[in-house]
């Protein structure tokens, strides 16, 4: 390891009120109270009683969800022949600030295409849903959908592979066109 790569971090000093703990506890509770008041006052922040009530069912100006720009789970778009649009150029994984996209490229089995993704994995737990991948994609192959319900029982299950991402395309294409 190089000397210039080492950063020495000093521990912050405790002030007197930090030392007694209780004042800090009340300061913390104050923040909670402030937010509670914000939501219960008559002209307060909009609260959605999830899961009985859902954002997608509300109008946008009443705190509803703007579907075309919502950044949820990814999908891989398909072309007219049902092949993935992706050409495995690695632009999305390069642009990704969370480094959650893992691509393995290979020679494509189709004569009109050069390269295609043999493997395309997105770690949805690492992803920060910034949408940089969508912006970087030169082929409109990767897009973020409005799906926000992402449930899994293991970390491994939350790494979506190519098949799963193409499946999400089939699920969402009707109400979210490319």
């Amino acid at each position: 390891m190089k000397q210039e790569d080492i950063i020495l971090v000093e521990e912050p000093q405790l002030t007197l009120s930090d030392g007694f703990y209780l004042p800090q506890v009340f300061i913390g509770l104050g923040t909670t109270m402030k937010h509670m008041w914000k939501t219960i006052r008559p002209s307060g922040d909009i609260v959605v009683q999830y899961p009985e009530e859902r954002r997608e069912d509300r109008p946008v100006d009443e705190g509803g969800m703007l579907r075309p720009t919502y950044r949820g789970v990814h999908r891989l778009n398909k072309d007219m022949e049902g092949r993935p649009n992706c050409v495995a150029c690695f632009m999305c994984s390069t642009a990704c600030p969370a480094k959650c996209i893992h691509i393995e490229a290979g020679e494509s089995p189709w004569p009109d295409r050069e390269k295609y993704p043999v493997k395309f994995d997105i770690d949805e737990l690492r992803c920060i849903y910034c949408g940089m991948c969508e912006e970087a994609c030169p082929c409109d192959a990767i897009e973020l959908t409005s799906i926000y319900k992402l449930v899994g029982t293991s970390r491994q299950e939350m790494i979506l592979d190519k098949e799963k991402l193409l499946e999400i395309y089939d699920q969402t294409i009707d109400h979210e066109p490319m």
């Binding site: 050409v87 150029c89 632009m91 390069t94 020679e107 050069e114 390269k115 030169p138």
Partner: protein, 531 residues
């Protein structure tokens, strides 16, 4: 020293330089495709045209020699208009497939299009489509990406001297071709991929594997022969993807052999030894490297305590000088009369390449197929005491070799090195073996400690000319594997962490003079090459 003025700035140049080289030495960039300092000048791409005061037409910077007091303009309206035209013309027949092209990221066409080209294309017609061609065992040619700079054609004529490539057709139908039945398979063929300024010539072994901007480069040295060719090891996330030549005027200039280029494959396969083992009731059981090393140390110590002069160390010419030195010290600390034996030095055929036009020697692939025989000999000489060659150990005629009972054997060769003619000591006696690939000796040894490949450790090698060159650690060793030097460092109970540079300083000349090349340093200023 002649002085010229470029864009209002006066620069000093060397005699016999061309404008382009003089500018490059002084940090002024002039775009160029067909010019390569190691090849003859053809001035065919025309993007380097500059305006010289007193000359009515634009002149090619790659071909025009400097004259004292010359005034050059690289960004006058006339020169800029030419650059834009050349870029636009090249791009009319160039496919827009950067996302799938392996050259993207290190492509001259991309860089110059950004710097000198125009933003909007005006070409609306159908572009030329040309299927890719298989031109050699390792090389693919994408003809539609080619810009006809002919660097590759000149390389096969002037450096490898084999002339496999030629320009077929004229005008818009011009393309690079091979002769029927004569593929591009010479031992230097891989270099055409490096000199291709665009993605026309690509390496099959690297095709679609990784994008170049994700790769990190570490300076290293070729492990395949005594020439000590300088290379970059390109790797990402602990995996090596390719090796490229690194410019060194004294050793390999701009080129490397294909054997060097693909040497990394031998150490990245699944056969590597990764577990330390020790013999127990006539079979080998796995253990960790510290326990295995301690076992070997105490066993050898007991052997030497009974009768001195019974130990030997086989120093492989694949070892770094630092490692050979530490192992020599280690074995001599157990037995002051231990014999230092240099491992087998395989000899192959020396290949000399000549310019097919002038007959001048351009590149030599050394016949000695190990990188550090010279360095290990120097280390043995430095340590003094009894020593032997591998052939002497096989014959075992010398009286001091007859007494040997056990030793520390280091392999590290990239292929199986234990041949049919092996010393009797490899079958009987005590054997502590350090190697990277499995072989018959490893399978029967008393203690096995896996070693690190050259890309996984720091060290230096002395090439056949006596030049000591440093290679750096590029990727981590497989789990459970430490470099040879770290094992000796541990057994010698030396203080602190192992540092190759400190050991080099202890060994002294010529090894201590070797410096780690700076990865960010620009290529050194080039001399005018007369071809």
């Amino acid at each position: 020293m002649p002085k010229i003025t470029v864009d209002g700035k006066t620069i000093e140049c060397k005699d016999k330089q061309v404008i382009l080289e003089a500018c490059k030495d002084n940090g002024i960039q002039i775009p160029h495709y067909c010019y390569h300092p190691g090849l003859s000048v053809v001035a065919s791409c025309r993007i380097c045209l500059v305006e010289v005061e007193g000359v009515p037409k634009l002149v090619p910077a790659c071909q025009t020699p400097i004259r004292d007091g010359m005034v050059v303009n690289t960004n006058s309206p006339k020169a800029v208009a030419n650059q834009k035209q050349v870029m636009e013309y090249l791009l009319t027949s160039h496919p827009l497939d950067c996302p799938v092209c392996d050259q993207a990221g290190e492509c001259y066409l991309q860089d110059y299009s950004y710097e000198y080209g125009r933003a909007e294309p005006r070409f609306e017609e159908e572009k030329v489509k040309n299927p890719k061609k298989d031109v050699g065992d390792n090389i693919l040619l994408y003809s539609d990406r080619c810009i006809m700079c002919t660097r590759c054609v000149r390389f096969t004529r002037e450096v490898s001297g084999t002339s496999e490539l030629f320009v077929d057709g004229r005008g818009a139908r011009e393309e690079i071709q091979i002769f029927p039945g004569r593929p591009l398979n010479n031992p230097l063929a891989g270099n055409v991929v490096d000199i291709c300024p665009v993605g026309a010539l690509l390496d099959k072994n690297f095709l679609f594997k990784q994008r170049v901007w994700l790769l990190k480069s570490t300076p290293s040295i070729s492990p395949v022969d005594a020439g000590g060719e300088n290379i970059w090891v390109d790797h990402n996330e602990g995996k090596i993807y390719r090796c490229r030549p690194r410019y060194n005027a004294d050793v390999n200039q701009w080129w490397i052999s294909d054997e060097t280029r693909y040497a990394w494959k031998a150490v990245s396969d699944g056969n590597r030894l990764v577990a330390a083992k020790k013999a127990q009731y006539s079979s080998q059981v796995e253990t960790d490297w510290q326990k295995a090393a301690d076992q070997a140390y105490t066993d050898l110590k007991n052997l030497a305590a009974d009768s001195p002069g019974t130990l030997y160390a086989l120093l492989s010419p694949m070892m770094a000088c630092e490692e050979a030195y530490l192992l020599g010290k280690l074995i001599r600390s157990l037995d002051p009369q231990a014999v230092l034996v240099i491992g087998p030095v395989p000899q192959g055929e020396q290949q000399v390449f000549r310019n097919s036009i002038t007959g001048k020697e351009t590149f030599v692939i050394q016949g000695e197929k190990v990188p550090n025989a010279n360095g290990v000999r120097k280390v043995i000489e430095l340590l003094g005491g009894p020593s032997a060659t591998y052939e002497e150990l096989v014959k075992a005629e010398k009286p001091e070799l007859k007494k040997l009972k056990g030793g520390w054997i280091v392999g590290g060769y990239l292929k199986d090195w234990v041949g049919k003619e092996q010393p009797a000591l490899f079958k009987k006696g005590y054997r502590a073996v350090q190697d990277i690939l499995p072989n018959s000796l490893v399978n029967s040894a008393d203690v096995v400690i896996p070693g690190a490949a050259w890309t996984e450790k720091d060290g230096c090698w002395v090439n056949f000319k006596g030049i000591a060159q440093v290679f750096s650690k590029a990727v981590p060793a497989p789990e459970g594997v430490v470099s040879e030097a770290e094992v000796y460092h541990y057994l010698l109970r030396l203080p602190g962490a192992y540092s190759a540079a400190a050991v080099r300083a202890e060994i002294g000349e010529p090894v201590s003079a070797a410096k780690i090349p700076d990865a960010d340093a620009p290529e050194p200023a080039m001399e005018f090459v007369e071809l």
